[in-house]
Symmetry: C2
């Protein structure tokens, strides 16, 4: 699997490429399956359909890795925290975590068990997937998941999280510790079910000051990564903390790939991190609106990364209104232009 | 005015301090004036009331500078682009800019003339303000204002702007050039009316890749700054591009103060920029929820900046639900702890 080789800094015949949110709304085939499943959570919970949409971008676009279709918030959901996806509103936890008792009511064992639909989807997908293609499992970072559980949904200023962080940091650490424990077991089950690599999404890393980021987010991600790397050293771990280009000097620890968001200059990330990690990223997703911009972006990025370990990706998820033809052009262009 | 001295890198008896959005909803006195004015735009357009709320934080909190109460979007509004502030929705331009004709319909001269309520508010505020306190005028950066005019309001992915940027960059440059011309005249009128310094807010700087940031945003801010510094060399210009901690190496040009947002590590900004510019910022606004966190934040920042030119501020606007007592405590603490 050239994706896995690139993660582990081995030479590859070309630069492997995939896209965050590649199993998504820009594909009419995805929309059909999604419609047949009903709502978003029903699609996550139907392992056959989840597997089907996970495989679509491999078949349609020829990406080098499939990522299992799911959502980072199924973990608190299955631990017992009610979750709704309201149309146009994003995820809502109607009863956010406010007290120690709210936290105690969440059941790690039950959660990890209830998430069997994710493991079933991974198993089926790994069976159907070409052996040359990698299957990526994933989870959210404890911090990012916690922000939704505390705020009750998406947030602009993370005021509730920050109040806890400043006024009762021990409670925040308790929430994060419990989530970390659940996530270790969750990604371990994903690996047992066939995941070849694990990506940890820290979408709201940028909600924290530098010191707070390392204390409340990065350290917990590393704890998950350390757990995986100790038990499954051949499984690459990809960390993707978004919006922290000012903190790169202090990124360190036992993982394999650092995901670079598009707002971080790639040569800065290369200078700071490429000696230790494979870099993944980081094309600006809106470039996919326009073929000339795709070409310019691909050439620029391949040139920066020509002498170092690299997985090509967008620097954020693909947008729903990108023409499929442009996505295909992008994937093919990366694979062709990077061929040695 | 110790605020102006600090801008110009002169020694000051203590570190001057103010807060972005200091004339705002956390003050009951502001809420009263706002209620009497009707809606938000009516408050902007009533120069007496705008002046009254601009002065409140000086009287109530003892900040070292007043910033004139207004909004960055009054400029396109008065140039002829209809603007609404819907409750809970933020600003809406019902007829966003889509064509060259839409752009041609905007009238620079009329806009600069119609904005007389801002100049009147500045005159009145400067008259009433203690001579030791500075009065800050401001505008949005051409890029940030353009994002609203093109998207029709706030945006998550700036997809419409990006489509223009990639498919028709000349048109985006035309929009930015026209806005820059209007903004030069607008801030010049603000200076004539009594503004002692000008801050340019580039709130959506982080929506751009590095090269695009310099081409489509920073260069236009510099054009405004160059214009001001040439005609009014004693007037400090403050640039505040948000979320670009990865681009600091390349920040250069003729301005006085660089505003550091809270997500940018202050010692990184100091290392890269303090030899050239006074730094303004950058306490995390949620620290104001808690007095211990205020103290910790103030001491940390004063320690980093103890040997270099500094204006204390939050790294983003003050939040509406901050207790006024905490804001007072913050301002006093900065002034006391930094006294030499």
């Amino acid at each position: 699997m050239i994706f896995i080789d690139a993660c582990l800094k081995k030479k590859t015949p070309y630069t492997p490429v995939w896209m965050m949110r590649q199993a998504g709304r820009y594909l009419s085939e995805y929309m059909q399956v999604r419609a047949s499943a009903g709502d978003f959570l029903s699609l996550c919970r139907d392992y056959k359909k989840a597997s089907e949409v996970s495989l679509q971008p491999v078949d349609i676009l020829g990406v080098d890795a499939a990522i299992i279709f799911s959502d980072i918030l199924v973990v608190p959901l299955e631990m017992g925290l009610e979750l709704k996806f309201e149309k146009g509103e994003g995820p809502i936890f109607p009863k956010p975590i406010q007290t120690e008792e709210d936290l105690e009511n969440l059941d790690i064992q039950k959660g990890v068990r209830n998430l069997s639909y994710v493991y079933d989807a991974l198993k089926l997908t790994r069976e159907k997937l070409d052996p040359s293609k990698a299957l990526i499992g994933f989870c959210g970072s404890p911090w990012t998941i916690a922000t939704y559980m505390i705020e009750g949904g998406g947030s602009k200023n993370y005021a509730k999280c920050k109040k806890i962080l400043y006024q009762n940091p021990e409670f925040l650490h308790k929430i994060l510790t419990k989530l970390t424990l659940a996530l270790k077991l969750y990604v371990e089950e994903q690996i047992k079910a066939g995941a070849n690599a694990i990506q940890i999404f820290d979408s709201w890393a940028s909600a924290l000051e530098k010191e707070a980021f390392f204390e409340f987010s990065f350290n917990y991600m590393l704890e998950i990564s350390n757990y995986i790397k100790k038990k499954y050293p051949h499984i690459p771990v990809i960390l993707f903390p978004k919006g922290i280009s000012g903190f790169l000097d202090e990124i360190n620890g036992n993982f394999d790939v650092f995901g670079v968001d598009w707002s971080t200059p790639l040569n800065l990330a290369k200078e700071k991190l490429a000696s230790k990690y494979t870099l993944q990223g980081n094309m600006e997703p809106c470039r996919l609106y326009d073929k000339n911009s795709i070409k310019e972006g691909v050439e620029k990025i391949l040139d920066i990364m020509k002498d170092t370990s690299h997985i090509f990706n967008l620097g954020h998820g693909i947008l729903p209104d990108i023409p499929v033809g442009n996505a295909k052009y992008f994937i093919k262009l990366v694979q062709e232009k990077s061929s040695k």
